[in-house]
């Protein structure tokens, strides 16, 4: 695996393989408003870390243990994600909470993590790890962009029916249009 491919996968995670915008995974977390930029960053990077560790564990489990019982995939993957988040919570909460408050359920209740773990089972191990970093970065960027955008949408200038979620969806749609070029 060359550097070129690694950069390509990471760039794809940011653009053409963007989970929350193009694959609708983790969109809920992105659209949820009332979040400071700092919290978005922590949430995004934390999710990236969870994605990486979860992939590190689920990929071997899926390849070596679940080959004969693929129907248990979801159950096992969710367990792994929960354990990872819980351990992450125990180890890191003192460090992060000094920085800002983060709801740890957000890491677990996120379709992007589970979706990524399932998608990654179709890839090679190293490729899967690089993909999870790329997708995590993509998620972080979208979170940050969105929390910044939300402050700038002037609700008074929007027709009543479109205020709140509809205008945010349209904003996201426009970003999607740009991303679709890749």
């Amino acid at each position: 695996m060359t550097l070129e491919i690694i950069l390509g996968i990471i760039l794809a995670g940011l653009l053409s393989n963007n989970y929350p915008l193009l694959h609708f995974l983790g969109t809920g977390a992105v659209l949820e408003n009332e979040r400071s930029n700092k919290r978005s960053l922590v949430l995004g990077l934390g999710t990236t870390l969870v994605m990486l560790i979860a992939t590190l564990i689920t990929w071997p489990i899926n390849t070596y243990l679940l080959a004969k019982a693929s129907y248990l995939q979801t159950l096992v993957f969710v367990c792994v994600v929960l354990v990872v988040v819980e351990v992450f919570h125990l180890i890191e909460h003192n460090v992060i909470e000094k920085f800002c408050k983060v709801d740890f359920t957000k890491f677990a209740i996120n379709g992007a993590v589970l979706g990524l773990c399932i998608h990654n089972t179709h890839l090679g191990f190293v490729e899967a790890l690089v993909t999870s970093i790329g997708v995590g970065f993509g998620f972080t960027v979208v979170l940050a962009v969105f929390s910044a955008l939300e402050h700038r949408v002037d609700d008074d200038a929007v027709p009543y029916s479109f205020r709140g979620l509809p205008i945010h969806l349209l904003t996201a749609g426009m970003i999607v249009l740009a991303l679709l070029c890749f």
Partner: protein, 199 residues
Amino acid sequence: MSNKIYMLRKTPSPLLVLAAGFVMASSSDVRAALAMGIAVIVTLLLSSIVISALHNIIPTNARLPIYVLIITGFVTLIDMLMQAWCPVVVEMLGVHLACLSVSAVIFRDADEVAGCHGEFESIAVSLVTGGFLTAIMLVCALIREFFGNASIWGINVGFMSNYKISALAGAFGGYLVLALVLAGIRKLGAYINSRKENA
């Protein structure tokens, strides 16, 4: 209860923010929307019943993993049945069916309603929530499939095939149509409210 019904008037509610992901993902085809809707209702219903039955013995600190695992268990079973009965739809929904198990909507429903109320109320709330989401998905899917793919229920609509807007079937269409449908619902809600006040 009244709260939940009120929620329909005031959509977009926090509910749709959390559900936006799978609503948009499954609204490109009417079949997918219906299947997803059924999966959501069944998951909500079963997990609500189990959680509200167990809520007295579940320690508060361990709510998250226990709720999520119960939901995941039901999603796994539903996923298996759907793979057996309607593989076409499962292929369309892809990973989103599995991701229902970590969907914030179902978790929130379990956490806020089933975790502290009785079975009957939980059942009613899950039916309202599931029905509402299904209706939104179906409306979006009808629009997106008809105008974006020139078909309904996978059957081609001949005269539309030259006029279809392919972008509507893609990711962008998901955002656009959901936004328009929500705005439409809110307009309707405002209209009904004003009628009520005048009457």
